[in-house]
C-alpha cells in the first residue's frame, strides 16, 4: 500500500483541542463527499442509502468521543483518512464495505442473540430439520 501512504501527507500535530476538533469535522465532510463515488464504485445502491452510510461514519467517529488528547485524535484521524483513501481508490472489495459499514460487526450474530432464553430444541429447529 505504498502508493496510498504517499498520498496521505502527515500534517503537523494539532496545537489545541479546538484545532483537532476542527480537523475531525473536515474529515467527516471529506468522507461524506466521497459517499456518492463509493456507492458507485462498490455498487451499493441496492443494499444501502447514503444516509445510512453517513450514519455509519458518524457512528465510527462517535465511538472515540471520549478521547481528550489531541495527539491521539490526530492518530485516529490519520487512520480514518487512510481507510477513506483505500476505499475511494478501490483498494477494497464490495464485501469489505458491506461487512464493515452496512451490516456492521454484529450483523451476522444478531439472530443468535434473539434466541437467548429459548430452548435447545428451538435453536436446533431454526438451523435445520435434522
Amino acid at each position: 500500500m505504498a502508493f496510498t501512504m504517499r498520498a496521505v501527507k502527515v500534517p503537523p500535530n494539532s496545537a489545541s483541542m479546538a484545532e483537532a476538533r476542527h480537523r475531525v469535522f473536515d474529515f467527516f465532510r471529506d468522507a461524506c463527499r466521497a459517499i456518492p463515488s463509493i456507492m458507485e464504485i462498490y455498487n451499493l445502491d441496492d443494499v444501502v442509502t447514503p444516509a445510512q452510510l453517513r450514519a455509519s461514519i458518524s457512528q465510527q467517529i462517535r465511538k472515540n468521543q471520549g478521547v481528550s488528547d489531541p495527539k491521539v485524535i490526530d492518530m485516529l484521524l490519520f487512520n480514518g483518512m487512510e481507510e477513506l483513501n483505500n476505499i475511494t481508490e478501490h483498494a477494497k472489495q464490495r464485501h469489505h464495505i458491506i461487512g464493515q459499514y452496512v451490516v456492521g460487526h454484529k450483523g451476522l450474530v444478531q439472530d443468535l442473540e434473539k434466541d437467548q432464553g429459548s430452548s435447545e430444541f428451538l435453536k436446533k429447529f431454526y438451523t435445520s430439520n435434522y
Partner: protein, 627 residues
C-alpha cells in the same frame, strides 16, 4: 425351467406338473436335466430381442436371471426374430410387445385380481400376441401391477421409462398414505429424488399389489412444493421469510385472539405425532376445537369398533355375503376392493350395495340409493334379507358416504339394527365394518380430534390448517388469520396468511393407523425439500414461541405422550382389534333423513395434495376416468 430327471422315466419331467409319488427317485442336477433346461431357455430366447442394454427391466429381469443360470453361452439362432406391434395400454404402462414371452401372467392378473376382462391373448401359434381389444385402454385401478408381474420388459412403467436402473436406487420400506389402507410399499430413491414406488408383500393388508394412485403419485412429490416459510404481505403476495420471523408472527397473532376463537384442523395425510402435538397445543392455548378433515360433523369416536374395519382386511375372505352401505370400495380403498373381488371370485359371495350408481368389478345387487333401503332391510321387508339370513359370515361395510351426513348417528344405529337382526356380530365373528377414506382418520379418532368442522370454522379467528386442503372455508370470518402448514401449495394456500412448509410422507418418520386398526410407520426415503421441517416440530416450535411450550423434544418423547392417549398407536405393525362392542352405545334419537348417499370420491386419481400435484395422475384422470 422346472425340468428334472426321474429314474426309470424316458424323458425329463416337468416338476411343476408332476405329482411326487412314493419311491420316486428325482435328480435335479444331472447333465440330462441341465441340457433339457438349456433347450427350453433356447426356445424362450428364440424370439426374444437381445436389447437388455436399452430395456427398463435390465437388472431385475427374470428372463435375464434364468438365462444366466440355465442358458447356453452362445446362440444358434440365425433367422430373423419375430416382431410384434406395441399396444397402447394408457398413460401408465409402456409396452414393448416384441419382448413378450407369452407367459400370460398379465392376462391372469387382469381377470383374476383386477377383475377386468381387458387383456387377452390374440392370434395363435407364432402369431400369438397379448393385447387389449382394438383401441381399448386398460382401465383398472390396479393396472400398474402388471409391470411387476411381467417377467420380462414387455410391460414396464411409462413414467419411469429410461429414468434409472434398479441398482443405482436406494429402497426404503415404508407405507402409503393416499388412502386409509396403508399399503406396504418400497420407495426407490436416487439422491434426493423419489424415482418410483413398488409394492411390498404384506398378506394382511395389500398382499403383493398396490393401486395405481399409490404407485404413480410420486411425481406429485416433486411439484408444487412449499420450501420456504412465507407471509402474505398487504399487497396479497407471499414473501419468503425466515422461520424465526414466520413463527414470531403466528405467535403474536395467536396471543391476541380469544382462546375459543382458535381452531386447528389436521389434514388427511397427517401422521399421529403431528396430530398429537396439534391437539396438545390447541388445548394448551385454551381451545378444544381441534379436528381432522373428512371425519364429518359428529364422528363416532367413543368406541373404537364404531370406526374401524373390525373384520380386518384379510378377514373379509371368510365372508359369504357383503352389504356395502354408502361406500364404493373400488375408488375409496382399492386394496379392500381387491380383497372383496377375490372373495367373490373364490366363493361366489353375494354383494348388496346401497348408494349412488357405481362401478364394480364383480357382480353386485344394487339395492337402492338411500337410507330408506337400509331401513327396509332393518325391518325385514327387503328381498335381500333372505340372503343375509342364510349367510354364515355376513359382512356390512359402511363407508365414506356416511361421514359427512348430519344423520350419521341414526344411519349407524340402523346399520347396527341390521347387524343385530342378521347375526353379523357374534363372539366368533365381527362383520360390522367402517371403511375409512383417509390415512389420518383412524389415528385422529383414536387421539380425539373430533370437533365439529362447521361450527369450529365459523367461529374461528385463528385457523391452523395442518395440511388440511379440503375443509370447507366458505363460512370462515373474513378477518380470520389462517396459518397453513403443509408440503404442497394446494387449495387452502389461497386463503392462508402464513405458510409453514412441512415434510411429505416420503421425508418423515410418522405413525399412521389404517382402516382396520393396524399401526404402521413411514420411514424417510429422501431429505426434506428446501427449508421444510417435520410437522410435529413446527407445532412444538410454535408452542414455545407462543409461550405454552409442549413438553416433548424428540420423536420418542412424542410417542410416549401418544402412548398415554392411545397405546395402540405405538405398537407398530400390529392390528389392535377393539374389544368393546357397539352394544354399550346410548340409544340414538335422531331420525334418518331420506336423502340418498353421496359418492365420497369424485376422481379416484386425485384425492389429496400430493396426487393433485401429480402430472401422471392428471393424465390418468383425463384418459382413464369413466365419464
Amino acid at each position: 425351467m422346472c425340468l428334472v430327471e426321474v429314474e426309470k422315466s424316458p424323458k425329463p419331467v416337468a416338476s411343476c406338473a408332476m405329482p411326487a409319488l412314493p419311491g420316486m427317485k428325482i435328480k435335479t442336477n444331472t447333465p440330462i436335466a441341465k441340457k433339457a433346461r438349456e433347450g427350453v431357455m433356447e426356445f424362450l430366447l428364440m424370439n426374444h430381442p437381445l436389447d437388455c442394454p436399452i430395456c427398463d427391466q435390465g437388472g431385475e429381469c427374470d428372463l435375464q436371471d434364468q438365462s444366466m443360470a440355465f442358458g447356453a453361452d452362445r446362440g444358434r439362432f440365425t433367422d430373423m426374430k419375430r416382431s410384434v406391434v406395441d399396444k397402447n395400454l394408457g398413460p401408465l404402462v409402456k409396452t414393448v410387445m416384441t419382448r413378450c414371452i407369452q407367459c400370460t401372467r398379465c392376462v391372469r392378473f387382469a381377470s383374476e385380481v383386477a377383475g377386468v376382462q381387458d387383456l387377452g391373448m390374440l392370434g395363435r401359434g407364432s402369431g400369438e400376441e397379448i393385447g387389449t381389444y382394438v383401441g381399448k385402454l386398460m382401465t383398472s385401478e390396479l393396472s400398474g401391477n402388471v409391470i411387476d408381474i411381467c417377467p420380462v420388459g414387455a410391460l414396464t412403467s411409462k413414467p419411469f421409462a429410461f429414468k434409472a436402473r434398479n441398482w443405482e436406487m436406494k429402497g426404503t420400506e415404508t407405507i402409503d398414505v393416499t388412502d386409509a389402507v396403508g399399503s406396504n410399499i418400497r420407495v426407490d430413491s436416487r439422491g434426493p429424488e423419489v424415482m418410483r414406488i413398488v409394492p411390498r408383500l404384506n398378506e394382511d393388508i395389500n398382499e403383493e399389489w398396490i393401486s395405481d394412485k399409490t404407485r404413480f403419485c410420486y411425481d406429485g412429490l416433486k411439484r408444487q412444493r412449499l420450501n420456504d416459510p412465507m407471509i402474505r404481505g398487504p399487497d396479497g403476495r407471499f414473501k419468503a421469510v425466515t422461520w424465526r420471523d414466520a413463527i414470531a408472527v403466528v405467535a403474536e397473532v395467536l396471543n391476541q385472539v380469544k382462546p375459543e376463537e382458535i381452531t386447528g384442523v389436521a389434514g388427511k395425510l397427517s401422521d399421529a405425532e403431528s396430530m398429537m402435538a396439534l391437539k396438545d397445543f390447541i388445548n394448551k392455548m385454551g381451545s378444544d376445537k381441534v379436528l381432522c378433515e373428512g371425519n364429518g360433523p359428529n364422528p363416532p369416536a367413543d368406541i373404537r369398533s364404531n370406526y374401524l374395519m373390525n373384520t380386518s382386511i384379510a378377514g373379509l375372505e371368510k365372508a359369504d355375503v357383503f352389504l356395502l352401505v354408502g361406500t364404493q370400495p373400488r375408488v375409496e380403498a382399492a386394496m379392500v376392493n381387491a380383497r372383496i373381488q377375490k372373495t367373490v371370485r373364490a366363493t361366489q359371495a353375494k354383494v348388496g350395495y346401497i348408494g349412488p350408481p357405481a362401478d364394480f368389478n364383480y357382480d353386485t345387487w344394487h339395492l337402492g340409493t338411500g337410507p330408506d333401503t337400509l331401513v327396509e332391510i332393518a325391518e325385514g321387508r327387503h328381498p335381500f334379507c333372505s340372503i343375509l339370513k342364510s349367510a354364515k359370515n355376513p359382512v356390512i361395510i359402511a363407508g365414506a358416504g356416511l361421514f359427512e351426513r348430519e344423520d350419521q348417528g341414526a344411519v349407524f344405529s340402523t346399520i347396527e339394527t341390521v347387524a343385530k337382526k342378521f347375526n353379523v356380530t357374534r363372539p366368533d365373528w365381527n362383520g360390522l365394518n367402517v371403511l375409512l377414506l383417509h390415512a389420518a382418520q383412524a389415528a385422529a379418532l383414536d387421539l380425539g380430534l373430533v370437533a365439529n368442522p362447521t361450527e369450529s370454522v365459523k367461529s374461528a379467528k385463528f385457523l391452523y390448517l395442518m395440511g388440511a386442503d379440503d375443509v370447507n372455508l366458505d363460512n370462515l370470518p373474513a378477518d380470520a388469520f389462517v396459518v397453513y402448514q403443509g408440503h404442497h401449495g394446494d387449495k387452502a394456500v389461497y386463503r392462508a396468511n402464513v405458510i409453514l412448509p412441512s415434510s411429505a410422507f416420503s421425508e418423515k418418520e410418522g405413525t399412521y393407523e389404517n382402516t382396520e386398526g393396524c399401526t404402521q410407520w413411514t420411514i424417510p426415503a429422501v431429505p426434506t425439500v428446501g427449508d421444510a421441517r417435520d410437522d410435529w416440530k413446527i407445532v412444538r416450535a410454535l408452542s414455545e414461541v407462543a409461550g405454552a411450550p409442549l413438553p416433548y423434544d424428540s420423536v420418542a418423547a412424542v410417542r410416549s405422550r401418544i402412548s398415554m392417549v392411545a397405546p395402540n398407536l405405538v405398537r407398530v405393525d400390529e392390528r389392535e382389534p377393539s374389544v368393546i362392542s357397539a352394544e354399550v352405545k346410548p340409544p340414538v334419537k335422531q331420525q334418518v333423513s331420506p336423502a340418498p348417499f353421496k359418492a365420497a370420491v369424485e376422481n379416484f386419481y386425485m384425492t389429496d395434495a400430493i396426487t393433485r400435484a401429480s402430472k401422471i395422475m392428471a393424465q390418468c384422470s383425463a384418459t382413464l376416468l369413466k365419464k
